[in-house]
């Protein structure tokens, strides 16, 4: 499907079932009628343009934390539970979602409330992904409704589980094309007691990536490695004494450079801004998320900048955010070897959101979609093929 500007579903074809069986019944009926559905969570990320008489189906009506066991690092929540509610509940026990999900609202100018189901469906991660893993790495189990309206359970609430195929990880990042999540079980982690950030001014993208590679091969568990303008940042977290130790070791490692240190508060607000792309929030150009091999990042950034606009780096160079006027074909060409996804359409003419899949994989993906959603009613056209 082609991305257009964000807009809400109109009331006549908007459905938000209040429980799982209602959700299943609605999908079952849609399956029988071959009625295409647009699947959404809180509607903060991308609100799909309406097509014909189809429905916008959201799980935001399924709310609430089912169980939370801090001693087991486990939280189970219904898919419509607001991310904020989860984060607050965890914080009260000194825990957090380690993958640090991004909040898209400011960047996209959207309203609404991000839900955990939406986060999981899109595998939304933040800067800590480089050290702690993606959202996908924290999925312990899911419940979802497939394209025939069957309620499916997979995984569970324990941290290690290899019983049967891992559908939770597969559903994560499938953008609702395989099923609509009704419940997710997540692994939580203790929240770092303290954090600080080392800022390196006056560096190029190439220098930043070199710096990141050097920092990320140390044992100091650098949990953020981002670059914007001419500044590179490294975040260290842990117990207070640990943070000081790690900071000092990194300062020694980069003793030839001038380093500014951000304390607790300043560091937190910096990384929130980097996570949510505050720096591109006020602009109107298209925003692209581009995965590359970190050492390829400097060349890709240069190519993107040549198209007009600006780029920032995260994940030690493995993630490029590009905000600019380059057209889709040129951006994808500049990102060759990587993968470019359109996150905000901006002034671009309608363009495919995702890069085309290689042939061998496209065939498997299609077979999988057909397995989960034989009638092709979930977010049809979102992914080519």
């Amino acid at each position: 499907m082609l991305l257009k500007t964000c807009d809400g579903g109109n009331a006549s074809n908007f459905t938000a079932p209040g429980d799982e069986s209602e959700l299943a019944a609605f999908v079952e009926e849609s399956y029988a009628r071959r009625r295409a559905l647009h699947i959404a969570g809180g509607g903060t990320r991308v609100r799909w343009a309406e097509v014909g008489g189809d429905f916008l189906l959201t799980a935001r009506g399924l709310g609430g934390i089912v169980t939370y066991e801090p001693g087991e690092l486990t939280l189970i929540a219904r898919a419509g539970t607001p991310v904020e509610e989860i984060e607050q509940t965890l914080a009260a026990q000194g825990q957090a979602l380690a993958f640090e999900p991004m909040d898209h609202r400011l960047l996209l100018g959207s309203s609404g409330t991000p839900t955990i189901g939406g986060v999981v469906s899109a595998n939304v991660c933040g800067p800590r992904r480089v050290q702690a893993g993606a959202c996908r790495d924290y999925i312990l189990g899911v419940r979802f409704v497939d394209g025939k309206g069957r309620i499916i359970k997979n995984g569970g609430r324990v941290m290690k589980n290899v019983t049967g195929l891992n559908l939770g990880r597969l559903l994560c990042g499938s953008y609702g094309t395989l099923g609509i999540l009704s419940e997710v079980a997540l692994k939580t982690l203790p929240m770092a007691e303290s954090q600080q950030t080392l800022a390196f001014g006056g560096v190029s993208a190439a220098e930043a990536v070199e710096l990141f590679s050097a920092a990320l091969r140390t044992p100091f568990e650098v949990s953020g490695a981002a670059f914007r303008g001419a500044t590179a940042w490294l975040r260290v977290e842990g117990f207070s004494r640990q943070v000081e130790y790690r900071r000092e070791r990194l300062i020694t490692l980069f003793r030839d450079r001038k380093i500014d240190i951000y304390g607790e508060e300043e560091s937190r607000s910096l990384w929130r801004g980097l996570r949510d792309l505050h720096h591109f929030a006020g602009t109107s150009d298209a925003v692209w998320r581009i995965f590359v091999k970190p050492t390829d990042a400097p060349a890709v950034v240069a190519a993107l900048q040549a198209l007009g606009g600006d780029a920032s780096l995260d994940w030690g160079g493995g993630l490029i955010w590009y905000c600019g006027s380059g057209d889709a074909v040129s951006v994808r060409k500049a990102a060759e070897g990587g993968q470019a996804t359109l996150v905000r359409g901006g002034a671009l003419p309608a363009s495919p959101i995702f890069p085309p899949e290689p042939k061998g994989i496209a065939y498997l993906s299609a077979a999988l979609r057909k397995t989960f959603d034989p009638a092709g009613i979930f977010n049809p056209g979102l992914v080519d093929g």
């Binding site: 893993g133 359970k153 290690k160 290899v162 891992n166 990880r169 990042g173 140390t218 077979a367 999988l368």
Partner: protein, 485 residues
């Protein structure tokens, strides 16, 4: 006779053995094929020896292309294929049937690329888990998942079973450390998934492959995430007078906000067997936790103090830290050899059920009761930090009826795990061992969709067809597929 059945082998396929072997021999180097009945016997089982059956033939390719050739031929002739790594599965994942061809990955042993700037290594999957870390040693990196059989098990098998290990409490299991694969589908088609990138659009098929027990594809190359080695690591041994107290200590440590890299549990039966092999100087207590922390000397000391304080509330009868690297090595060598060392006491069935950590004390108590009722001793050694239990049911394989009693007790224990909110298998895989218990954890639809996925990858149901799903449930798929073109 064991209660676990395998499908009746297809006599028509067995009758065509010479044709099948000839087709393989015509396309592959002679030394890749093992077909003499004297020789195929060595491939009749993996590390679960209770179930055995020699395959029709064994193919040991050296390249992805040779794997593809073998798969294409078997697919063309409609011969089931059993993938095999190092044959260390405790779940019978590599158990053949008489009408099947085993394809082993043990000769795929090349290290293809190390990229420390982008933090990955690319290998052929027949390399052993431990050799990957050995290869990275001089670079200051390691490959984190560390199944206890890491000395011998291969990356192919690790991917097949989504293997865990002691240190996955901090570093995650195979799925969390796998970036990409090159693999061969049942038809012989070669497909590449993922790669060095930290993200990808499109469906995460890789996550399906990891842990698919060789039912979707044979993975021949893998791109693995590599992690910097910690500055130091130090295990401590905490001894308790009861299993329940040790179990309670685990939950309290985790709740305290310290996240050790590993929390392992061993009971006295196990400790004695392991001590005989490793001479690590384990305390002689009913229940011992091995808790390991990492970092600089100061970081380690700080964490030990926090853990000591938590443990002290439960009055351990022993608390001591490893004094040096040799001692730490001995402690881990012992722990990782625990299953093997138990062989000193007799035959055993090794279970792999997981329970929520808070349920550990209760689970241990119930297992003790079930063991007494069944009249079979059960030793416990497991990854406590994530509730992944490994009850070892001791029996005498040479005494008729013993295996069946052990199986029955095993089933009771696994049902208990599921009832407590856990699962049948935390890291070994379902294989044949837990296959028939799947309905205790999955409703029919939960299982149906998984079988449909298998069918999407392997329409003819030729790859490891009799595993994971109860034969009754998979029969329509297997038989329906046999006639498909």
């Amino acid at each position: 006779m064991s209660t676990i059945a395998m499908p009746t082998p297809d006599e028509a396929i067995i009758a065509r053995k010479s044709e099948i072997v000839a087709a393989l021999a015509a396309a592959l180097p002679a030394e890749t094929i093992v077909s003499d009945p004297e020789e195929t016997r060595a491939y009749e089982c993996d590390a679960l020896t209770a179930y055995r059956c020699p395959p029709l033939a064994v193919v040991l390719p050296r390249t992805t292309e040779e794997v593809a050739t073998a798969m294409r031929i078997c697919h063309g002739l409609r011969v089931p294929v059993i993938p095999r790594g190092a044959g260390t599965s405790l779940a019978g994942g590599a158990l053949p049937t008489a009408d099947s061809v085993v394809i082993g990955t043990m000769r795929l042993r090349e290290f293809l690329e190390i990229d420390t700037a982008n933090r990955y290594i690319r290998v052929q999957t027949g390399v052993t888990n431990l050799s990957v870390s050995a290869e990275l040693e001089s670079e200051g990196f390691f490959y984190a998942p560390d199944p206890s059989s890491q000395l011998a098990c291969t990356i192919a098998g690790n991917i097949g079973m989504n293997s865990g290990g002691a240190h996955c409490l901090k570093y995650g299991v195979t799925a969390n450390n796998l970036l990409g694969v090159r693999m061969v589908l049942a038809t012989g088609e070669i497909v590449e998934l993922g790669g060095p990138l930290l993200g990808a659009s499109g469906l995460d098929i890789l996550s399906l492959i990891c842990g698919s027990e060789g039912q979707l594809a044979i993975v021949t190359e893998a791109t693995l995430r590599i992690v910097p080695k910690p500055e130091g690591a130090r295990p401590m041994l905490i001894g308790f007078d009861s299993a329940e107290t040790a179990g309670e200590c685990v939950a309290r440590i985790i709740r305290s906000g310290v996240l050790p890299v590993a929390i392992e549990y061993m009971d006295d039966v196990c400790l004695r067997a392991v001590e005989a092999f490793s001479k690590a100087g384990y305390p002689d207590c009913p229940a011992v936790l091995i808790v390991e922390v990492e970092g600089s000397d100061q970081e380690i000391a700080d964490q030990i103090e926090r853990i000591r304080a938590v443990a002290a509330e439960l009055h351990p009868i022993e608390f001591r830290c490893s004094r040096n690297a040799d001692e730490s090595q001995a402690i881990w060598k012992g722990r990782k050899s625990a299953f093997g060392a138990m062989g000193r006491l007799g035959d055993y069935l090794c279970l792999d059920g997981t329970v929520p950590v808070s349920k550990l004390p209760y689970a241990l108590k119930r297992i003790g009761e079930l063991s007494k009722k069944a009249g079979l001793e059960v030793a416990n050694v497991f990854h406590a930090g994530d509730g992944n239990m490994h009850p070892l049911i001791l029996f005498n394989a040479n005494r008729p009826g013993d295996l069946e009693r052990a199986e029955a007790l095993g089933n009771d224990i696994l049902r208990l795990c599921v009832d407590l909110g856990g699962c049948l298998s935390g890291e070994h895989g379902v294989g044949v061992e837990k296959r028939d218990l799947m309905p205790t954890q999955f409703a029919p639809d939960d299982m149906a969709i998984q079988m449909e996925i298998k069918g999407a990858f392997d329409r003819a149901w030729l790859l490891n067809p009799a595993k994971v799903f109860p034969l009754e449930a998979s029969r329509p798929h297997r038989e329906g597929a046999a006639t498909c073109s």
